[in-house]
């Protein structure tokens, strides 16, 4: 087995290094206390949200969501990440992921929750000075105050740094006067605190401000009429000569864009976890409905076409769980390591999160697309009832869609992950080029005929993963050379590369999780997880092959193209798998248990 120690893996290095299964954290390792927290959170979602989701989404009672929000505060759910010194609980990063995961089943409320605890609270936690932290964090951690995050403007969405909102110092030098318009602001309708991004004078870069509602000069449009998450407040916010005391500038002048980027970074991985609760709930509904619904004289869950969908919902959810909590623990470990070296807490957290920004973007894209797949199949299993607003699938389907748009669209995130990787490679922070050269050389040498010992569980699969990484190195390496600084404008190729990265990370995480599970519980107890990991990898190979082909077709020609296609064939060779049988096995177990049974 590999000699790697856990700390030696940096962000993005999963593409060039092997990871030992014992070095990753798996969902099954949450302790009794964390499980109890998750259960309490689930009870909150079941009693406070699910019983009146229609009323919440109707927005007819403006006090309802704020009152549920306050209850979440009383239970401590709003202070999970806030240190105890500031009235929170100071729980670990993965605990906060777990809570986001469970709240993810709360439909529109999960956006309310994420906007407050994530983008609303974290800018102060990570960038605030002592006065700002002790003044605001206790109020936010307990839910006494609700927060929102005002970055997007009508003409500045993905291009967030192009915002026009202005801040000008008052004549007496005591206030910044903010003027401008923000759009799509979650929680705006009941927020007491606004994190506002604006440019001071004619600065090129944004600055960030902590704005209390009572400062005055804040007005709003009506609630937006949305496709989904209808119970979550989303408004345009106008700042008209809003007077903000100078001490409410957050961090340094011009530092706003960096804050925005780093905070979104955390939001992304949390969103990855935040889809999981939704996936499990939808899968569980689908299992129950397909058991009860009879056609042609039998339950529809006896049909292979339905079993295929049930199993696939679980397989993708399982992979997403595996990658989110793996990355979450890597971040936590890095935070601890940096803090142990003497780095101040907030800085250590930011550094660790920045280090795993690639994984965070992967979690966001993978998670939001898994959720969309799961709700889509959920609707399909319900048939006509899936299309009815009287059954739960219709809402789940609408609510899911936002995840691919906010916290950076999936296009922006795909570009980001590849861009970050290449940038790190250029800076020498990640040794990408050497292994890429080695793969390039391997292309023109005689293929090795060494066979692997497939008697050991997952030996063949780990070999496949190793080769998939070579696919990335081959295509990515050649693309970087062929396109050089043009690569940023060849977005289609960037997207292909991103898709390859995502599938490698997801498939590897699922297999590592299962390997670890087998080492703890034995093969028999993990039989379904083994089946799920194998099917996921099998599909990943197909997707990666397709993405690689498209990329090769886009930039390589003639002999080079031929050599690469031969390499691709070599590196995507894998055993045929009876996915039908494995999916049936998984689906039958889900049906037997009556719910998503893997976490």
């Amino acid at each position: 087995m590999s000699q790697l120690t856990k700390s030696s893996i940096n962000g993005g290095e999963f593409l060039i290094k092997e990871t030992d299964a014992q070095d990753i954290f798996i969902f099954e390792e949450f302790n009794e206390e964390q499980k109890m927290m998750a259960q309490a959170c689930q009870d909150f979602v079941d009693t406070e949200i699910h019983t009146r989701i229609e009323e919440i989404d109707s927005m007819k009672h403006p006090e309802l969501v704020p009152s549920i929000f306050k209850k979440a505060g009383e239970l401590g759910l709003l202070g999970i990440s806030v240190p105890e010194a500031y009235g929170g609980l100071g729980m670990s990063f993965n605990t906060s992921m777990l809570i986001a995961d469970i709240v993810g089943a709360a439909g529109s409320f999960s956006t309310t929750y994420g906007a407050h605890t994530g983008i609303g609270t974290l800018p102060i936690l990570y960038y605030g000075n002592e006065d700002q932290k002790s003044k605001y964090l206790p109020k936010l951690a307990t839910g006494e105050w609700a927060a929102c995050y005002c970055l997007t403007e009508p003409d500045a969405g993905s291009d967030a740094n192009s915002g026009k909102t202005k801040a000008v110092l008052s004549a007496d030098g005591k206030h910044y006067i903010i003027n401008g318009q923000k759009m799509w602001i979650s929680n705006a309708g009941f927020a007491d605190l606004f994190i506002v991004f604006a440019k001071i004078d004619d600065d090129k870069n944004l600055s960030a401000f902590i704005v209390e509602k009572t400062f005055g000069g804040i007005t709003m449009n009506e609630e937006e009429k949305k496709l989904g998450i209808k119970g979550s407040s989303t408004r345009q916010v106008f700042f008209n000569d809003c007077k903000v005391p100078v001490e409410n500038l957050l961090s340094d002048r011009g530092n706003g864009f960096k804050i925005a980027v780093n905070i979104l970074n955390i939001g992304r991985i949390k969103l990855g976890a935040g889809v999981l609760g939704g996936c499990r709930t939808v899968a569980s509904h689908a299992i129950k409905y397909s058991t009860e619904r009879k056609q042609f004289g039998v339950s529809i869950n006896t049909f292979g076409a339905i079993k295929q969908k049930l199993a696939e919902m679980a397989i993708r959810t399982y992979a997403c769980e595996s990658l989110c909590y793996r990355a979450g623990q890597d971040i936590e470990d890095r935070m601890q390591a940096l803090a142990a070296e003497g780095m101040p807490d907030a800085e250590a957290k930011l550094k660790a999160l920045e280090q795993f920004a690639i994984e965070a973007a992967i979690a966001k894209v993978h998670g939001s697309e898994v959720l969309d797949y799961v709700v889509d199949q959920g609707v399909q299993i319900y048939g006509g009832m899936g299309y009815s607003a009287d059954a739960p699938m219709e809402r789940a389907y609408r609510d899911a869609r936002i995840s691919r748009i906010y916290e950076g669209t999936n296009e922006i995130n795909r570009m980001l992950m590849v861009g970050m990787l290449l940038k790190r490679a250029m800076k020498g922070e990640i040794a990408l080029f050497e292994p890429a050269m080695a793969v390039a050389n391997e292309l023109t040498s005689v293929p090795s005929f060494e066979s692997i010992d497939t008697s050991e569980l997952f030996a063949a699969e780990m070999d496949v993963i190793k080769k998939l990484k070579k696919v990335f190195l081959m295509v990515g390496g050649k693309a970087a050379m062929a396109l050089a600084d043009k690569i940023e404008s060849e977005q289609e190729v960037m997207m292909n590369l991103a898709d390859i990265m995502i599938e490698i990370y997801a498939a590897e995480s699922a297999i590592l999780r299962t390997q670890k599970l087998v080492s703890q519980r034995g093969e028999e107890a993990a039989a379904h997880q083994i089946a799920m990991s194998k099917v996921y990898l099998f599909e990943a190979v197909g997707k990666i092959e397709q993405s690689a082909k498209e990329a090769i077709g886009a930039f390589a020609k003639g002999d080079e193209q031929k050599v690469m296609l031969m390499g691709l064939k070599r590196f995507t060779k894998s055993e045929i798998l009876n996915t039908k049988e494995l999916r049936r096995q998984v689906a039958d177990y889900m049906i037997e248990k009556g719910k998503y049974p893997f976490s």
Partner: protein
């Protein structure tokens, strides 16, 4: 004021029940365990009484080590300490004797528990404990107020309610709407870790019953709807298919 709350550790109400070992044991694989829902009402009311009267709350469970997470949850909800009698709860008498033995040592003012567990639904333990201790036992209690050494209660009876008063100490078998279930808050969960949980060995070994085996109820048949004007079809079905006519 010292209150003892006895809680059961039972399968979640949505669990799929299956048996192993020749249908003599519950198959615990994949089953989630919870505080018995009626016990949870008793606990919720006790937490309210704690706030009102500055009472101390002890939770007790007769069970093997696997029930400790359930006890910790009760601590997270607001109990001050926990006792686990280290034994499989073989039957009502066995459990009642353990509770009575603990109660004798500690002089609780009030002993609360659910009207019944939701696994075996015996509904006998509160009565037996009252008998063993020689104090009143009242069930099912839907409302419970304490004024000095008096307890005012409302009890569900056939077709109505009964209001009654008794003196402490007593045993109350509780049910809704005595209080609303409480979700433990995160801080409570964190402090549960440091609250005392004492394990004691059973005081006696008497059992009155032995389980031979379990059987699941027959699967529910399908429902046939007959048009309200088609009495002939109904009669035909009752005669030929249900064979009850």
């Amino acid at each position: 004021m010292k209150i003892l709350i006895c809680i059961t550790h039972v399968p979640d109400t949505t669990s799929k029940i299956q048996f192993t070992d020749n249908n003599t044991k519950l198959d615990k694989n994949g089953v989630q365990f919870i505080i018995g829902p009626y016990d949870d009402y008793a606990l919720a009311r006790a937490v309210e009484l704690k706030e009102q009267l500055n009472a101390t709350l002890t939770v007790l469970n007769v069970g093997e080590a696997e029930t400790e997470p359930t006890l910790r949850k009760a601590l997270a909800i607001g109990a001050d300490d926990a006792i686990r009698v280290n034994a499989f709860p073989k039957d009502s008498q066995f459990v009642a004797e353990q509770i009575a033995a603990i109660a004798k040592q500690n002089n609780y003012d009030l002993i609360m528990m659910g009207r019944e567990s939701i696994d075996f639904n015996g509904g006998m333990v509160h009565g037996m404990v009252g008998e063993l201790l020689g104090i009143p036992s009242i069930s099912p209690v839907m409302k419970l107020e304490i004024e000095g050494d008096k307890v005012k209660m409302a009890r569900e009876i056939e077709g109505g309610k009964e209001y009654l008063e008794a003196k402490l100490p007593l045993v109350a078998g509780c049910q809704e709407p005595i209080a609303e279930w409480k979700i433990p808050n995160m801080r409570g969960i964190m402090s549960a870790r440091t609250k005392p949980l004492t394990v004691v060995e059973p005081a006696s070994q008497n059992v009155a019953t032995e389980v031979i085996n379990f059987q699941l109820p027959p699967a529910k048949g399908t429902v046939k709807l007959v048009d309200k004007d088609n009495v002939a079809e109904l009669v035909r079905l009752l005669k030929n298919e249900a064979k009850v006519l």
